[in-house]
């Protein structure tokens, strides 16, 4: 078994644990993420609170588990939305060509040129800052999904163009395949590995972007935890030095993103 394969199995195992913890958060921990233990704020790890409590007396372990649920389950949803948009627009641009292609690619170029984080900050400003936590989560990841498509679109468009010029596509056209049949039997099956790769590439990107947005106060709102707003605890260096276990959310985030990077298919596997 090759080293890369072993590493991948290891990463899959870690991700399975993380996804499992996210799905069964309610079973793993008995506390609510918003429950406050006002008599023990900033307490160190103990049998009652495995990772201690934060400044408001909330169980940090519970918040990390529920934060994992928010970040790790909604980032794939946003990645799915972004890949779907890229697939539809890239397919349209590649198949129809000419004006449709020019307009879509110009729009993608403009979106690519603008820094994603900048547009996100500007778009997030559309929503009032005092929205409900659930709405802020959905809005944050929805905006991420809506804006994350341009890079994937370029890849899909290039693949569709290559496909259109391929012999088997020409053969299918010569056989009199209709547009729908061409799309269903030729385009979608050939694009599947590329779309899948784009989907996996987008997940760590969205996890990290959500973290930065939430740290800036423009992402997921309290008391709902996400990896991003849990990292806001890192802003106070003296508190971090006194309570080093507060680094755990950052550690979980880094390990998960590294694992997500290692399971990405290589260019040879995508081809």
């Amino acid at each position: 078994m090759s080293g890369r394969r072993l590493l991948r199995i290891f990463c899959y195992s870690i991700l399975s644990v993380a996804f499992g913890a996210a799905l069964f958060a309610g079973t793993i921990t008995k506390y609510s993420y918003a429950a406050q233990f006002r008599d023990v704020p900033n307490s160190p790890p103990s049998a009652m609170h495995l990772l201690g409590t934060d400044g408001l007396g909330r169980d940090l372990f519970t918040r990390v588990i529920y934060g994992t649920r928010v970040s790790l389950l909604l980032a794939p949803a946003a990645a799915f939305l972004a890949t779907a948009i890229a697939g539809i627009l890239g397919g349209l641009a590649g198949l129809r060509g000419w004006l449709t292609e020019k307009v879509i690619l110009a729009f993608a170029d403009l979106s690519l040129a603008l820094p994603l984080l900048f547009v996100l900050v500007a778009l997030r400003a559309l929503l009032p800052l005092d929205v409900s936590p659930i709405f802020s989560v959905i809005a944050t990841f929805f905006i991420l999904g809506l804006l994350g498509w341009p890079a994937s679109l370029r890849v899909v468009w290039a693949a569709v163009r290559r496909l259109r010029q391929s012999d088997h596509f020409l053969f299918a056209t010569a056989l009199g395949y209709g547009k729908t049949r061409l799309l269903l039997c030729q385009v979608i099956p050939n694009l599947r590995p590329i779309l899948l790769a784009q989907f996996w590439i987008s997940i760590p990107l969205f996890v990290l972007t959500e973290a930065t947005l939430s740290m800036l106060g423009l992402g997921v709102m309290e008391p709902l935890p996400s990896w991003g707003n849990l990292l806001r605890g890192c802003e106070n260096f003296s508190a971090m030095a006194a309570n080093p276990w507060r680094v755990v959310p950052l550690f979980v985030l880094i390990v998960t993103v590294i694992c997500l990077q290692y399971i990405l298919p290589t260019s040879g596997e995508t081809a």
């Binding site: 900050v121 990290l208 930065t212």
Partner: protein, 286 residues
């Protein structure tokens, strides 16, 4: 010559149009955002109805979107970017004050990142070894896994300047792209032929591989500028650096439409401009 001037003019027009569309899309969305134009002073019970009306009128920014665009573009032609509703100062003055900080940080950061990434990528291609490749991949993998805001906090903690943060955020992505581009070029048949003819490794790298990589590397320049600008927002906001990134963050938090529109226009113009250079060079050659 005339054809070249025409091409340049066409490109500049396209640039202006793209940047304008970006800014105006942003303005449209902010203008229709729920709660836009609501002032905290409206909650003051001591104010009379007439005062409340005056405050609301102050925030209307014209009767509708089209009149807002019209007056904004008319002002823009005269060099007037409007007035920030949050900071109550002319936007042009704010941009002029803060742009040098961001431009300096972005340029220095990009220069550092490009130098470091190029050296690292060249080393891994010139001296291919498991140890070097794994160390470089692990180092850059760790940096990629850090959110830009955490890098900003690290910079504050280690008392590093903002440009170092920009370099740390862009370095890993630049290294990976450059390594891929160089590795792809090194696997070309002409490189194999040169190796078979006994050409030295250094000569192959500098005379055969690198020249092939110029175009994709030039295209990477535009992408890296966009990445660096994006990184400047959390870096400046969290390290309290008075640049455009911090201004954009404050404008977003305070829903300052004139400021947000002008910053979008400026950033769009800058990044679209940088992106168009490699494209123009590529078209010129082909």
């Amino acid at each position: 010559m005339t054809a070249w001037i025409l091409k340049l003019a066409q490109r500049l027009l396209l640039l202006a149009a793209l940047a304008g569309v970006g800014g105006l899309i942003c303005a449209t969305m902010v203008r229709f955002a729920p709660g836009f134009g609501v002032d905290e002073r409206e909650l003051d019970p001591r104010l009379s109805q007439a005062s409340l009306e005056a405050i609301r009128k102050e925030h209307q920014l014209g009767t509708g979107l089209l009149s807002y665009y019209g007056s904004y573009l008319f002002g823009l032609c005269r060099g007037d970017f409007g007035t920030s509703t949050f900071l109550e100062r002319p936007v042009g003055e704010l941009l002029k004050e803060r742009a040098p900080f961001t431009i300096r940080a972005v340029l220095l950061g990009l220069l550092t990142a490009w130098l470091a990434a190029s050296v690292l990528a060249l080393l891994t291609v010139r001296f291919p070894s498991w140890l070097l490749d794994s160390s470089a991949t692990a180092f850059t993998g760790l940096l990629i896994a850090l959110p830009a805001a955490v890098v900003a906090l690290l910079c504050v903690f280690l008392r590093l300047p903002v440009f170092a943060g920009v370099a740390l955020v862009t370095l890993p992505k630049l290294f990976r792209y450059q390594q891929n581009i160089l590795a792809h070029a090194s696997a070309q048949p002409f490189v194999l032929a040169a190796q078979a003819r006994g050409v030295s490794r250094n000569r192959i790298l500098f005379r055969h591989v690198i020249p092939v990589c110029w175009h994709p590397l030039a295209a990477l320049l535009g992408v890296s500028a966009s990445m660096a600008f994006g990184a400047a927002i959390p870096l400046e906001a969290l390290s309290d650096s008075p640049g455009i990134g911090q201004l954009a963050w404050q404008a977003a938090l305070n829903r300052d439409l004139p400021l947000l529109t002008s910053i979008t226009l400026l950033v769009a113009g800058f990044t679209v401009g940088i992106n168009s250079f490699p494209k123009a060079a590529h078209q010129e050659q082909s």
